[in-house]
């Protein structure tokens, strides 16, 4: 007579359940989906072109205020460009930035980390020392220095942010790989004759995925923030590119006259970064068994 065995939920189902318990995470996911949809359908959703200047309408207020117009729901900026359209295209740009930076940093950082873990010895020491040096600099400062070397522009700013976020992925993947390497299944695989590269990517990597996934989501958020900061300092995307940070830089002088030129881009940044942070936190809580109640 054996005790009845209760049906254990499938692994993916269990993950979704613990994720869904976290209200913040669900909100983050929802926001992210909205953003992706808006960004993908920007051409359809945006009422105007983001760079078209309406000479009649410099600094028009949002439609609910005196002097506002329905044509420009969130008002216009100092050269008459529609805020709402710029924000929508800005969402597309920010998501692209986040995605590119996060994936590039992920690929390069993880490869370096795995390389350091597997090669060990001098290679490991050199790679980790380089990461240590990179980590010493405040990330914004390092990004500024890199942009100073490469010259201002969105592409260079993205490259700078990749370099700045690299150490996080490297350390994480190296630590995960080292702890996996110590396990028995790796020794078994090795003695079966698996080559180093194959071992790295097919055997060890899948088990390090969980913390990396969390890092990517949080890295998305950080990338958008850093790129916006560089844009704000004039070192990132250049006008008329509708990057949210750049929009803020151009709006500084109008903070007393036209608060909407300042408020909305920043609010967009906040909401987007918040979405990815919530998502990343939710993933971390769902994937980390220690925190289960």
């Amino acid at each position: 007579m054996s005790a009845s065995v209760s049906a254990t939920p499938g692994r993916a189902g269990a993950l979704w359940r613990s994720f869904a318990e976290n209200r913040g995470a669900v909100i983050g996911l929802g926001l992210m989906i909205v953003l992706v949809v808006v960004a993908a359908l920007a051409d359809v959703v945006a009422p105007h072109s983001p760079i078209e200047q309406f000479r009649e309408n410099f600094l028009t207020p949002p439609f609910w205020m005196a002097g506002g117009e329905r044509a420009f729901l969130l008002g216009t900026d100092d050269v008459g460009r529609d805020m709402l359209s710029r924000l929508i295209y800005g969402a597309r740009l920010s998501l692209l930035i986040g995605f590119s930076v996060a994936s590039l940093a992920l690929v390069v950082g993880t490869s370096l980390g795995l390389l350091a873990a597997f090669a060990g010895g001098v290679v490991d020491v050199i790679i980790m020392r380089v990461m240590d040096v990179l980590l010493v600099f405040p990330s914004l400062l390092l990004a500024i220095v890199i942009v100073a070397i490469l010259g201002p522009g969105l592409f260079n700013a993205m490259l700078a942010v990749v370099v700045v976020t690299l150490p996080g992925y490297t350390r994480l993947s190296r630590a995960s790989a080292l702890s996996e390497l110590a396990r028995d299944y790796v020794t078994a695989s090795r003695s079966a004759g698996a080559g180093a590269v194959r071992l790295m990517f097919e055997t060890v990597l899948p088990n390090c995925l969980a913390p990396l996934i969390v890092q990517v989501s949080l890295g998305f958020a950080a990338a958008i923030l850093d790129a916006a900061a560089l844009g704000f300092l004039g070192l990132g995307a250049q006008p008329p590119t509708p990057e949210w940070g750049t929009m803020l830089a151009g709006a500084l002088q109008y903070y007393q006259r036209a608060w909407w030129v300042l408020t909305f881009p920043g609010l967009s940044i906040l909401i987007t970064v918040l979405a990815f942070n919530l998502l990343g936190d939710g993933l971390r809580d769902a994937l980390d068994p220690k925190l289960k109640r």
């Binding site: 209200r23 913040g24 020392r129 380089v130 240590d132 040096v133 980590l135 010493v136 600099f137 405040p138 990330s139 914004l140 400062l141 500024i144 220095v145 942009v147 100073a148 070397i149 010259g151 958020a221 923030l225 916006a228 900061a229 704000f232 300092l233 004039g234 070192l235 940070g245 803020l248 500084l252 903070y255 007393q256 608060w259 300042l262 408020t263 881009p265 920043g266 609010l267 940044i269 906040l270 970064v273 918040l274 942070n277 919530l278 936190d281």
Partner: protein
């Protein structure tokens, strides 16, 4: 303990050399020849250029230049500003107290508010307060500092008129810069009006710069406390019949502080990054503002020297954090 200290210092040296290497590479990677860069926008004749190149050793192999650079650093020579012709070191020491004052106020604000909030959230786990605090923390950590600063100025300075918009003190006052800390100098100058002005100028930048550390500290404290409160020794403490307050503060907090202090120390690096943006917004005459301007003015010696100094500062603070950690956690002292 001494051995611990020496070992930690030994570990730092390669990092420090790496930092100087990066700094050295900066001048050589920037588009343009280093001499032309130092000459600024005036331009320079080719013969004079060759002469100066020889004089500054730029026709030497790169590794030798690096060694010379290291020697130069050890003598305390960090270069001269192209625009002001002051030495980088002088400019830094003049401007650093402003950043330091702002940074200390910001971190104090973050700790004084964030630590208790985190402890309370942990003891009231699952309550509305807990969820509210967590929501605010994530929001605080997601905010672009530059925007937050502008919003705060819009509301408190422009709309409400409570606080001034920029600078460290009203133009009406002149305070002798004795320590470089406006608050201390005003105190010594015994001028009540100046003191109030200094404080009112500090409030907004402190809050803005301190927001992200506040959010981080509150979260870290909460999660560290939650972990510690589950430990066996807390159960033992309660079994001794100790009051809840004593268990939380004497037993739990002491252990939870260990990761929190580490976080505080490591957020100095983030604080310096945030200072760059905060100082720009509030026209605060500190190191961050100086560095940003150096790029716009193409004052590369300043950028190079300033970055090196900031990085050194971070290394020293990390060392301090390591030592404090060793002091707080008896298990790793030996």
């Amino acid at each position: 303990m001494l051995v611990f200290l020496l070992r930690r210092i030994g570990l730092i040296i390669p990092t420090f050399i790496g930092v100087t290497l990066l700094s050295f590479m900066l001048i050589h990677l920037v588009p343009g020849d280093p001499i032309e860069v130092r000459a600024g926008e005036h331009g320079i004749a080719p013969e004079r250029l060759a002469e100066l190149r020889h004089q500054f050793g730029l026709d030497q192999p790169l590794w030798k230049q690096f060694v010379d650079y290291e020697v130069q650093l050890l003598h305390g020579d960090l270069g001269t500003s192209v625009s002001t012709h002051e030495t980088v070191w002088n400019e830094f020491t003049t401007l650093f107290p402003a950043t330091l004052e702002l940074g200390l106020c910001a971190i104090s604000f973050a700790v004084i508010v964030g630590l208790p909030l985190g402890v309370i959230a942990a003891t009231r786990r699952g309550s509305g307060f807990d969820y509210g605090l967590m929501g605010l923390s994530v929001t605080g950590a997601s905010m672009p500092i530059f925007w937050w600063g502008l919003m705060v100025i819009l509301v408190f300075s422009v709309a409400l008129g409570w606080t001034p918009v920029s600078g460290r003190i009203s133009d009406l006052y002149y305070i002798e810069p004795w320590s470089g800390f406006m608050l201390i100098d005003c105190w010594f100058a015994d001028d009540a009006g100046a003191c109030t002005s200094a404080v009112s100028h500090l409030i907004l930048p402190t809050i803005v710069l301190g927001t992200i550390p506040l959010a981080t500290i509150a979260r870290m404290t909460r999660s560290a406390m939650l972990e510690v409160l589950n430990e066996d020794y807390i159960r033992t403490a309660r079994a001794k019949g100790l009051s809840v307050r004593r268990v939380v503060i004497v037993h739990a907090l002491r252990n939870a502080l260990i990761p929190v202090v580490t976080v505080i120390g490591l957020s100095v690096s983030a604080l310096l990054g945030g200072a760059i943006l905060t100082e720009t917004i509030f026209s605060w005459p500190g190191v961050g503002h100086w560095l940003v301007e150096s790029i716009q003015r193409r004052d590369y010696p300043v950028l190079q020297g300033g970055t090196l100094l900031v990085a050194t500062l971070v290394i020293l603070v990390n060392l301090g954090v390591d030592l404090t950690y060793g002091f707080l956690n008896p298990r790793i002292r030996r």
